[in-house]
Symmetry: C2
Subunit: 258 residues, 2 copies
C-alpha cells in the first residue's frame, strides 16, 4: 500500500472498480497511500488540542466522558464540513452539478461535473485514495452526493453546535445530540446497505478486490459512524427519559402536598 495504484490494463486509465466504470478526467495521485493516511490522521489529531484548551477553559471541571464527546463532535464537524463537503462542492466554476441547473435551463447537458477524479489538492487526493474502496465518490453517484450534501449542510454545522451545547450545559444538548447522531447513523446505514444490495442483487462491487481497501477503508472508517452515534443516542434517550420521569414525579408529589 505504499505507492499510488496505477491504472490496470482492464480499466484502461484508472484504478477504480467495478471494471469498466467510467471515471473521466482521472489524474493519478502524486502522494502515496501511507502519506495520505498519515496526513489525515495528523489532521484529526491536531483538532484535539485547541478543542481541549477551549472546552476546559469554558467549563472547568469538565468530566472526561463529556470531553471525549466534545472531541467526537468537533472531529465529526470538521470531517463533514471540510472533507465530505468536498464531495458536493464544485472545483471549477460552471463545471459542477451545482451549476447544472442553469446549464439545463440553457438546454446544455454536460458530464463536466464528474470532476472529483481530476482534483489534485490534498482533499482530492484523499478522496481518490478512499475511493479505491468505493468508486461511487468518483462517479457522482446520486445517493452518495445527496447523502453527503445533507451531511455537509446539516450534520456538519450541527456537530459543532452539539460541542458548544455540551460545553455550556445547554438544555438543547440532548435533543440536538439525538438528531445529529441519528442523522449520521441513518446516512451510514443506507450507505452500507445500498452498496451491499448492489453487490448481492446486481453483482456490482464498488471496491477494489484487495481486502485491505474493503475492510480498512470502507468497513472500518465508516463503522465509527455506526457505533458512536448508537452510544450517544442511547445516552441522550436515557438522560431525556430520566428528566421527564423526574418532572412527572415532582408534579405528582406537588399535587399530593396541595
Amino acid at each position: 500500500m505504499d505507492g499510488p495504484i496505477a491504472g490496470t490494463g482492464a480499466h484502461g486509465d484508472h484504478p477504480f472498480y467495478p471494471l469498466g466504470v467510467a471515471v473521466p478526467g482521472y489524474v493519478a495521485n502524486s502522494m502515496s497511500a501511507g502519506v495520505l493516511v498519515l496526513i489525515f490522521a495528523a489532521g484529526c489529531g491536531v483538532i484535539f488540542l485547541p478543542t481541549y484548551l477551549v472546552a476546559s477553559r469554558a467549563r472547568p471541571g469538565l468530566p472526561a466522558g463529556e470531553l471525549l464527546i466534545i472531541f467526537w463532535f468537533v472531529l465529526s464537524g470538521c470531517i463533514h464540513l471540510f472533507f465530505e463537503g468536498k464531495v458536493t462542492s464544485p472545483s471549477t466554476p460552471g463545471s459542477s452539478h451545482v451549476s447544472l441547473s442553469a446549464e439545463r435551463r440553457q438546454g446544455y447537458f454536460s458530464y463536466n461535473h464528474l470532476n472529483m477524479a481530476s482534483k489534485t489538492d490534498l482533499f482530492g487526493q484523499l478522496w481518490k485514495e478512499y475511493s479505491l474502496s468505493d468508486s461511487r465518490y468518483m462517479t457522482q453517484d446520486p445517493f452518495v452526493v445527496c447523502m453527503e450534501t445533507v451531511t455537509a449542510v446539516f450534520w456538519g454545522p450541527l456537530s459543532f453546535a452539539c460541542a458548544y451545547l455540551i460545553v455550556t450545559e445547554h438544555p438543547l444538548r440532548h435533543p440536538l445530540q439525538l438528531i445529529v447522531s441519528l442523522g449520521q447513523l441513518y446516512g451510514d446505514v443506507l450507505y452500507y446497505a445500498i452498496c451491499w444490495f448492489n453487490e448481492l442483487v446486481y453483482g456490482i462491487a464498488y471496491s477494489r478486490p484487495e481486502p485491505f481497501y474493503y475492510w480498512m477503508y470502507y468497513v472500518l472508517c465508516n463503522a465509527f459512524w455506526i457505533v458512536i452515534p448508537l452510544m450517544l443516542m442511547y445516552q441522550s434517550v436515557g438522560e431525556t427519559a430520566a428528566v421527564f420521569a423526574k418532572v412527572k414525579k415532582a408534579a405528582r408529589a406537588g399535587k399530593k402536598t396541595q
Copy 2:
C-alpha cells in the same frame, strides 16, 4: 384518470417512465385509479375509529392535539408496515431479492426479484398506480428498497410504539417521537433529493409526464412526511429543552437553599 393506463407504443408493454425502462413481468391493473385511491383513503380513514376508541378509553381527557398525533403515528405505522413493507417483501418464495443471497451462493443470478410489477393483489395494484409517478418501485431501485426496508423494519413498529407512549404519557415519548420523525424526514428528503438529482444531472425522470401523477402522487403524498415530522420534531425538541431547563433551575434553587 378513470381507467388503468394501457401500455403505449413507445414503452411496448407497460406505462412507466423513463422511456425504455425495463419492467419485466408487468401485469396491468384490473382496478381503475379512482377505485384504488378511494380504497386507500377509506383504509386510512377506517384506522381512526378503533384508534380513537382505544386511546380515549386508555387516557381519559386526552387533549385533541395529542389525539391527532396518535392518529398520525398509527396511520404512519400502518402505511410503513403493511403498505411500504410490501416493497421489500417477496411475493413468490425463491423469486425475490431476499432469497437472492442463497441463489448467489449457488452461483445463480436472476432478475426474478423484479416482481413488483406482476403483483395483482390490492397492495400490488396500489403500488403500480403510485409507480406511475415513480417507477423506482417497479425496478427495485437500490436506494428505494434499502430506505423502504429501514422504514418498514424500524419506523413502522416504532410509530405504533410512539402512539402507545403518548397514550401512557411515558417519559420515553419525546425521544422516540424525535427519532421516528427524523427517520421519516431524512428518508423522505433523500427520496426527493435523489430523484431530483437524477432528473437535473442525468436527465432521468421517473414520473409519467402528466402533471397529475407528479404533483398529486409524488409531490403531495410524500410532502406529509416532510411537514408533519418537522412539526413533531419542533414539539419534541421544545418540550425536551423545557424539562432540562426546569430540572437545571430546580437543582440551582436546591443548592441555594442548602
